[in-house]
Assembly symmetry: D2
Homo-oligomer: 393 residues x 4
């Protein structure tokens, strides 16, 4: 409670001022489970409308100046126009995400498929994504690979790993000098026996073989039960290979819930390791992205809640009394060190952040401000006809 003194507050707000969180375009489209995708009124029908919605999140929070695209869902004829559209709305295009899981050809794999023709197709798709990056000014090509098998013996895991390495090498070679390749790992789904990039170790081994500009994406929902995720954050920062986060939260599998909703303390611990490892420094290159599905809640408010959750936990992480913490740790004072750590977590930073927002011309309560803005009612009324965006477009 005494943590909010003048000096510590000033330092915390200084650090927060440069925090940027990237929004996924697909969070504004419909999503669901294999059982049902429930639609919502006002859902965008194209990438331009998605960007407009994302800009609302930024307008009310000042936190989300970039929008990640997913190809082919966000394919447009003229990416220059989409880029300009984004800039007109006060945001920019961020990470380009490839898709290797929806084409008929990818039923049994893509970059790791045994058929050269399928691998070629998947590689070409990534080369197109690189073209999109050039048109949008994006820095990162993110690859989440759905490749895997459902049954033991179905395919040769070792050969798949080698083929994946070859495919990635070709893609990496096609990147421009300012581009990065970001390889995401995932414990399981949609494959249920083995996944070709199932853990950070595999992603790390693969990107290390590629080169300096190949890094790892850590999706907070992509781990085995009980995994200490902040440890992995620490390790990847230590190894210089933490490229980006996909933030969301989970209770069971890859639930893709609002970040911080399932286990707020975990988010705090993660942000503490980010701060500790220098990941908040823009020079570190760590990109903070959301990757969530608002299956039953409204989407723009869901994204606003999410970026606020990240900001609030970052604030708490920055408030940790590191001098006291180091002293207790050095003394082997188990309870004392834990108390210093918890002190920051239990500090209610919301009033402080509300004041600060107002001082910067932002609403004290972004969710209330958005609700009062009438934007939702407008798009609910206007976006009639056409096909709502979802995971297919």
């Amino acid at each position: 409670m005494t943590l909010i003194d003048e000096e510590r507050t000033r330092r915390t707000l200084d650090r927060l001022a440069s925090q940027e969180i990237e929004l996924p375009s697909w969070a504004f489209g419909n999503s669901g489970t294999r059982f049902r995708v429930f639609g919502q009124p006002g859902v965008p029908r194209d990438p331009f409308e998605k960007v407009a919605d994302a800009a609302q999140v930024h307008a009310h929070t000042g936190l989300a100046p970039a929008v990640a695209l997913h190809i082919p869902w966000d394919l447009v004829d003229d990416f220059g126009k989409l880029r300009a559209h984004a800039e007109d709305h006060g945001v920019r295009i961020g990470t380009i995400n490839s898709n290797t899981f929806q084409d008929e050809a990818y039923k049994l794999g893509s970059l790791s498929h045994s058929d050269t023709a399928v691998r070629r197709k998947a590689i070409e798709h990534h080369l197109e994504c690189i073209d999109v990056m050039r048109a949008t000014g994006s820095q990162d090509l993110k690859i989440w690979l759905a490749d895997g098998t459902n049954y033991a013996g179905q395919d040769d895991m070792r050969a798949r790993q080698d083929r994946l390495a070859e495919s990635l090498a070709e893609i990496y070679a096609a990147l421009d000098a300012e581009h990065r390749l970001v390889l995401e790992y995932k414990f399981f789904e949609p494959a249920f026996y083995h996944t070709d990039v199932p853990d950070w170790g595999t992603s790390y081994a693969q990107v290390s073989a590629l080169g300096e500009r190949a890094v790892v994406c850590l999706d907070t929902g992509h781990h085995a039960p009980g995994t200490n995720i902040e440890f992995i954050v620490m390790q990847l920062l230590r190894l210089g290979k933490l490229g980006s986060f996909d933030f969301n939260s989970r209770n069971y599998a890859d639930d893709d819930l609002i970040v911080g909703a399932a286990d707020p303390f975990q988010l705090f611990r993660i942000m503490y390791e980010v701060v500790r490892g220098g990941g908040l420094d823009p020079a570190s290159g760590v990109v903070f992205m959301l990757d969530q599905c608002h299956n039953i809640e409204r989407k723009i408010p869901g994204q606003i809640r999410s970026v606020l959750n990240v900001q609030e936990m970052t604030a708490r992480a920055l408030l940790v009394d590191t001098d006291a913490l180091r002293a207790a740790q050095a003394a082997g004072d188990v309870l004392g060190a834990h108390e210093v750590f918890m002190d920051a977590f239990y500090t209610d930073v919301r009033p402080l952040l509300a004041d600060w927002r107002e001082s910067r011309g932002l609403p004290a309560d972004p969710l209330a401000a958005y609700a009062a803005s009438g934007y939702q009612e407008t798009v609910d009324a206007e976006r009639v006809g056409g096909t709502q965006a979802g995971w297919g477009a």
Copy 2:
């Protein structure tokens, strides 16, 4: 190895002769993950074609004389005609499964919803299902409830539980004297914070409040990681409340893989407890059903493999030398008892069952026989046009 002596073999085959496994109509339609549903050639376009496919499984194995329906996916104008169609194909209609997860109204719940109108709608749906049971001669109304919430605080779990109890009571009261209500539990999905019937304890408490003809359905893929499922089988049989199985297998979540594919030894242990607890006796009322998704493999062969897996493991369970087992257990001989148990598991029963099948006019190798039958090629060629069945129909 010495387990296959004449007397034990005879007893085993006698018990196997009465084994029946029920097939889900939806296993023959397309299925997938939230990321993609891959179609297959030859997939049925209506319930009649599904029943015809299911009949193929029975024709080649002699194991699968019943087909479970899912309402509304399997709604037809004339269920008497579907019933006759099934009988013409040598099978019958089995369990009727309700659907409370796809209607727009059920977005936040069905039988447990706070809105009386939604609950009424969900109850009425079950009354229609009971009408279908009357038309098809089905005994069991199976309820798998997708109800739950995604966020803590989203709804009042206690009130939902009470409302569920009321809804179930009304449905139970509408059943005919020969009908049963079977309540399935599931750890999670599609809800990611809480599920209204998440565990066997909840299902047991709810059906116990209803009456004698309300029982529990155990889906082998619906448990927390590490759960000892055969213990639950034992307990439900002991309490007289094991109504039916939904067989499948899993490595991670509700993967719905082929039963026995992920952990054959677990299937053996489950079948051993079934035998031990009298569940193989038709009088026990235990129904053995499959509930699987053949996302990437061919569907009819997938179902053939599945019923064979159940039969082979049942054979192994029946081969356990129970005298030796009891003696070792009574002596506290930990390793000895375990060895007796494993002896049965490691026995290769496949040649025995192949011979036995032939002696009953069935193919020694059902998968090869099906492949040679030309059925697949025929339906692949004939079933052109129309809409392939899936989880929406």
Copy 3:
């Protein structure tokens, strides 16, 4: 933040005033893992010293007026004397915990053992515990059963369950009218294949067969990964069978860490369901106990931290704006309801509770007050010689 208004605060503090948390005597003795038990200076050598330490926790927090005993670890010649000793120190003797896992005879089981003589021995042990209850004025006989097996086939799970039922019935029959039997469940450990009371369903089925005064103990560390524990709290309260809590926290298995340390939000959700279900009402009979191991941290401060964690989370649970919550839930406002819920969790109640403690003659900062009291230094110096208490005594 606006949650701490005058009226809500008054009501919250009123409810908190009657909260009692029971301490386990064994938390003050040495504990550890199978790899090593690290000793600490000042650890009690006998039950009298344990009670004295427990009284320190109560003296500094006003929260812990009862001490649970474990038999035989806490066997004394004269329980009347121990009871008086407790009263002299301002506390009382609480739950009596039996031990069925350390005697040589119990290697393969106790109340469920196949050998009548072993079961007899285990039953007699419980009858002795009931005698202790009479001498100490305890209400609850708590049974945590370590019974289980390590290998499939090792013993007959069904027969064990039936024998357990018989053993429990005999123990239940021996209780006095004001006594309760509390049956604890545990997912695993020390048995690694099956446990005879592994889940709440089994405990519920067993105690329901006994009678009204047989209830369930929920240890927060005894569940499968991912289990929604507050759902079970809700369900047991609904069924009238929640007898007591064993509070602790875990990241992996039965880690027995300080309650609230691993997942504070989970503790909040649990306490919310306790409040929601009436479990905070003394008439509900729900007993709040700690069951923890301070393997590496100091024990008395560890217990002080623990009872404060429970109190702080109870305060937050009581602060939930239930009118707003109900309104949002009834409106199907997913995000709105979640926000109301989180508002209470993120409220920093520590200043409020510190003030309130002072107003009641208790230290604002119990940990600092304990540290300043000199008690630890005194016992560290005085308790030299003798055998430190641990899990063997």
Copy 4:
């Protein structure tokens, strides 16, 4: 079933002939859980008796010519004498395992401890272990590090990782040219918040920084629930960093049960990847060790059962019809490939192996032969007095 043809059998037996499994000396001493260590008659009192017991396993199976030691549990005055004693009994001394978890100084860590003096002590311990290696002719220094923390904030994970790297570098530098450093990872226990080497990725990153002769130890019980272990086996073999196995099996945590007892199919899949990746070739350097606890079963028979399980599963893995498998995989025949794989698993290799054993002068039934040998009765009678070996000695 047709898998056991002449040619395939010959090749399989040829490969099996060179298989060696290393036994841990501590498997012959008493072990248990934190709740209780149950003793057994005939348990060794010193390393010489442990080696004698291990030699019994080899004598009856021909599979276990090496015995791993644990320092300081197996410290003797004259390791040359112990080495000669082993050779007299037909076995040799294998891996040397260090211990960094039982000394009072290691309460909060060893090689990663913040106190230079503690790290120095831990490093010196490893230098002593290297001396033992020289005296015993051992090749591998295995380090399982218990280091970790119980509470978030307790210590700085990043600094610990850096200190660990420094400590390992010093130990690695002290090895002789023919020595290897093998770093084991473990998900959790005895630390319950974070572990300093929790996963293969961390072990891989650490040993990669050391050099060619630093490799990873994979203990089959040290993973998060649901982890695909054979994938890690594949990956480590691919990366040239799989140093050794610690075989055991688990249902819940690090249960240390008999390998293959909990999930035989998993062991098959692991051995298949070993074969696939060349790990069975002695030139690969992969060491196959057991690391188990026979808490309730007899120890020598427990070890015999274990090495037979490994051999039987290796035989099944070698029997896989790799031509048919590759063809089905290349054809994208999901079910077909899986069937080929399962065919080998379901083949009962026990009669074949029994015959082969006899042909090599070994008993057809090693467990029966051991039971008939009278060895157990002899040691039960002779080993009276002294202190039975356990995890403290």
